[in-house]
């Protein structure tokens, strides 16, 4: 039962990821990404990571992707206005870079296949919070500085335009 659900979800996640990169229409692509994020969230749920699943849906599917779709709707109103990509040359770079990333990820996953699952209740928000503020405090704070820097940058750009 769980195994069957996993394969259905894996197919959904892979299919929607393919849809994201293969669809010419930007809105369709973005909606495929939403489906992808949602199916990953259900995979988290099946692993017992309830908090992570909820956070994934709220932050990525519910907030970031809404902004993405919003921006696409503002910038590309009609389907016929999306012309050929002016930076076609860059797309050739995607192939070797993608292959390198695939090798790297494959190596990491293959190295971990036999390892036992991480201990602790991942679904418990309290345990997660404790870990974030003790063991992973430094990366956590660095991430917040990174987000702050991005926000300041956006403000600067918006001001320059005005």
């Amino acid at each position: 039962m769980a195994r069957a659900a996993f394969f259905v979800l894996a197919a959904l996640a892979t299919g929607s990821a393919l849809g994201l990169i293969l669809k010419k229409n930007a809105i369709h692509g973005a909606l495929f990404l939403v489906v992808n994020l949602g199916s990953i969230a259900v995979l988290y749920l099946m692993l017992g990571a309830e908090f992570l699943a909820a956070a994934q849906v709220i932050v990525y599917a519910g907030a970031i992707m809404v902004l993405f779709v919003f921006a696409i709707m503002v910038l590309i109103p009609g389907k016929e206005e999306t012309g050929p990509d002016p930076r076609r040359a860059y797309r050739l770079l995607a192939l070797p870079l993608g292959a390198a990333l695939l090798l790297l990820l494959g190596g990491v996953v293959a190295g971990r296949l036999g390892a036992p699952a991480a201990a602790g209740a991942a679904g418990d928000a309290g345990a997660l919070g404790r870990l974030l503020f003790t063991r992973y405090l430094f990366p956590f704070e660095v991430t917040s500085v990174l987000l702050l820097a991005a926000m300041v940058g956006v403000l600067l750009l918006a001001r320059r335009g005005a």
Partner: protein, 362 residues
Amino acid sequence: MIADLGIAFGRVAFVMMFVLNLGGILTWVERKQSAIMQDRIGANRASIFGLRLLGLFHPLADAIKMLTKEDFRPARADRFLFGLAPFVSVFFALVAFASIPFGDTLRVAGREIPLQAVTLNVGILYVFAMLSLGVYGVMMAGWSSANNYALLGGQRAAALMISAEIAIGASIMGVVMVYGSLDMMDIVRGQGTLLWGWLPAWGIVTQPLAFVLFLTAGIAATKRIPFDMPEGESEIIGYFVEYSGMKFGMFAMADFLETVVIAGMTTSLFLGGWQVPYLAAEGFRFPGGAAWALPHLVVVPLQVGAFVGKVCAVIFFMMLVRWTLPRFRYDQAMRLGWLGLFPLSVLNIVLTGLLLLAWGAA
């Protein structure tokens, strides 16, 4: 095994029927309440064999009318998304209620049945997540209609929902901090204690600021007056302008369902959920020392009744607001969301944290 499946099915069916039927009746309540507020008689013509029942058949007549109307689709519309959008809207509004508890654990024949459709230890986040996904239906409708007015409506809806949801998310954090759990059942249980021996520790007492912020943002999230700028039915035309028949009806239904969900959340987080004041598991225990023992099978229906009553009261209040206030201008709503509700919610989190620390130290 069969009994377990039956119980699970019953829990889901109760919640679904409750939300769906309440949403349907709300179309009648909306007409009748506005009629009373405006000194009119209101809908009273639909009848079955001359039986009118105060116009209660009007939702039924509406449904039949919408189902039999032509289902029109603009020629340039995006076929798939145009058809999918109303279903997305209704689906997420309908499933959001699943982790809101409508009663305490029911003990029958040696079984313990938690009275909520799904037990989730991050229940409050689940409701919030489902509410935040509902906006996709609206945006898809606006974009796929190939109509600039619809597109504008969809964009307004997206901007409104984001600014409301930020405030909703930040204002429920205070409640989570006070009751120390993300599980809605635990939060409602926590509201059963008494402060100073007589005051029920409901969220509205412990988190008054969050209550006001949550209800305001919640009304905004339902996209209804005074926050109906996605549709603005009196002068602008909204994201569903190209929809007809039951697909149009589904968007209206999603708004009503969201009203029920927001009312259910307000009840569970701030009004004690299924708690009846001074009613403990074994009966009433009044502050003066008086007690009135009640059997378990009386206590639980009382609590479920209290939950339903509170939800109806909150909906009544939301309808009062809807028929009292004029619409906010788009920029006013944005300013209210980002410069009013959000900073105040953050302030509420800081204040709650400080008070909890002081309380713990004392």
